[in-house]
Symmetry: C4
Subunit: 261 residues, 4 copies
């Protein structure tokens, strides 16, 4: 079989579309953000990507229907007058080998180049190894001009982070994108690295919305973030009380623990 | 060499054949079922599949004859009047790398598509991590209609199982099969996951027989299942007695232990 | 680059040559036997095989000259009247991945088929996990007729060994050889599996010499075997005495230990 | 995508250029030496090499600009009258799989052959596992004549080192280079193997400068070496004092430890 199989579901003409990539990774920040964007925009399915560089796996829906793991492109037509339509790339996995990462990224970029893509935003999490109350959005870009533009939108370009560079799709879409004449920005939401982090995804989307000049209603994502916070807090409290091990402290923890159970 | 080499042993015309896949996996349920089906049907060799995605290994028969590891297709002509002939895919190994899994599955599906296959049954075990007295057969399928059909044959479509999806040939033959316009069902016999499980293979074949409208005499398989049960019971008893370590208990265990020894 | 690069050093016409393969493996038996055969026959270099399936490595000679790791074919013209010339395949490594094993074996077989090879002997060690005083030579073959022929030369075809089949080049040259219409025999010298074993290589060559109707002077190999035996014995003795740890026992061990030191 | 992508930045005609390779490895000796040579010569960018055999990674500069990991060729035009221009190959990584090592080396050699390269110097470290005060430069070469030439420049050709051969790019560029009709020398600076070692890189460059008849000012490299020595010494001293754990000894270590902190 072909190493990467891209099936086009609908033939479309798009206006200088911008590609937004968000695949599974640190805190699942990139995937959460891309999936949420796709849903809120009401983006439509454009193409499905299968590859031998993904695991040999199908998912089974609650109704018992199998679906081969994939990446997926969706498109959104911006309102009349806007300069750029948007393509969103999401999916179940990044390529599971280094070579697979290169092959997948290159094939998707080639496909997008034919659709007229000249600019790429990649979304990711940046693991801080500690709880992050107010996640900043760190950036990396392909040109000094883009760095300046993103700084004005509140993106932090740190001298030291990310020190070891970016590994995986979010970096590769920029690095290989340059070979296709595309410019791009990676937006990295700070996150602990221990939990799935919708809060960090929200911070990333706030910046992205400004950059794309698109209104994104973040209410549902913030609800999800609060829910994750509540669960994390409860686990934390329970562990604290477990450590104290006194009779009085256990009196107040029953409901909370029951909630988690 | 070609990545996958399929040697046709006999040129045949088949009536809308249904492919049944059963390769080594959890509890060896799929392989046991497919090999038993092949034998009971008296299916004839159709093609041998060699591949660099298998281990570089030959088996040696008791007579000293070497045989390169392979997968194998056999065919069975259904009686006149029946709508579908049957192809059985069995073998020594699944592909040993993710890429190998994809390549092998795609090549076999392509070969089968040329023989007119439009429907696939994949057979597998589902590890429950505990002893299963009466194994249910769990299912996953490519269409809602197939889900309904299989439910009527007693297949269980659980909301939560298999939660992480299916990994390996049994899932991939359905997932990639869809790209060939094939529909399909995966039948998963519950099993402990600790032993080879002919009992679970029997449960799977009961359902498959109904689906294919083929009578399969399961006597020999049930004999084999009882034999495995007896050995497992004896090991269990011996371990129990070993734990008690009393003079009285050892009196009744001698013959049993001798049997195993 | 090509996956496997075979450079022909001399163009030759050979009389129905027989291929003898011996590469590194258990006890290095196969490689020791093939290298010794090549030297004793005075076989001449025919072709050098480089491949990306070998490690990315060069060896450096005592004179400081680098040599890329390789496999090598040598040829020997049998005396007038003999039916078969001989090709010997030796080298530094087997392919280091399963796919590499298949690719290398297939390419070398293809090359040999063009030289007229119809019969293959593969040489290997069979690890018994215990010291073997008088190594038997176990066999596996591609046809019942060859099994019978080899039995007459003293080769043992055991019902149970090798139980798990043969893994690596010695099995693959037979298994893939069948796809080239070649028949073949694997000769496995029993060995402990703990040491390089020239004694076992000698046992294999005794059988091979009879099969090829070639006189092979084994004196030098037996000398080497005795030397290995002496070293192994001395290590064994030293360990024994170390365990006793008495003043008297140490008195007799000094020279021996000094010899090793 | 192509396995290896070489982008030419400038079309040049060179006079029988000599290739100097130095990529990351033991003590980073080869890379330090090649990067220093490139800088001191003022060599100009010639070509950028990307490959799926590198990690899927971008680096981010202090200004926030991403750069895909790569290898790079630079050229230096020797003064009028000199026989050979020089090509320097450096970069972020060697190929990360054995197959990748072969593919990358072969492609770069092919590219260099077209530029007229007939001679190769590869630079590397040789790990001694102990502190090396005055690093010798060990050698390996493709011809006896080159061995003699290099001996006169002080290179040591040891009967036993490197015993296991050379693994990686520095060996492969010589081994595969022979297949392109190139001759070559590997210069290995002795190093502990525990630290990045500019001192060893300096020793290698001293020899290389003589071989290329090029003046290389090593002042900056020696400064760097002294700095590494000072840090290593301080860590060593601190550990020594930590072992003594007396109140008096801690009195003298404060400043030193503060320097490191």
């Amino acid at each position: 079989m072909q190493d990467v199989v891209i099936r086009t579901l609908e033939k479309v003409q798009l206006r200088e579309p911008i590609l937004v990539e968000g695949l599974p990774g640190v805190g699942n920040v990139g995937k959460l953000a891309a999936d949420y964007l796709r849903e809120k925009l009401g983006a439509k399915p454009l193409a499905t990507i299968h590859s031998k560089f993904f695991p040999p796996q199908v998912y089974v829906s609650e109704a018992g229907i199998v679906r081969l793991v994939s990446n997926d492109l969706a498109y959104w037509r911006a309102p009349a007058g806007a300069a750029h339509d948007v393509l969103v790339l999401g999916g179940d996995y990044q390529g599971i080998s280094p070579e697979g990462q290169y092959e997948l990224t290159e094939r998707v970029l080639d496909y997008c180049a034919q659709l007229g893509v000249r600019q790429v935003f990649t979304l990711a999490g940046f693991a801080q190894g500690r709880v992050v109350e107010e996640p900043k959005v760190l950036g990396a870009a392909t040109t000094p001009a883009l760095v300046e533009t993103m700084k004005k939108l509140g993106v932090v370009f740190s001298r030291n982070d990310p020190g070891g560079g970016l590994i995986g799709a979010s970096g590769l879409f920029l690095g290989l994108g340059r070979l296709f004449g595309m410019e791009g920005v990676c937006l990295m939401g700070e996150t602990s690295g221990y939990f799935v982090d919708p809060h960090s995804a929200g911070a990333v989307l706030k910046v992205l919305g400004k950059a794309l000049k698109v209104e994104i209603d973040l209410t549902a994502l913030e609800e999800k973030a609060k829910e994750v916070d509540r669960i994390a807090q409860r686990i934390h409290d329970a562990e604290q009380r477990g450590g104290e091990a006194g009779p009085g402290s256990s009196g107040t923890s029953r409901e909370d623990l029951g909630y988690i159970g």
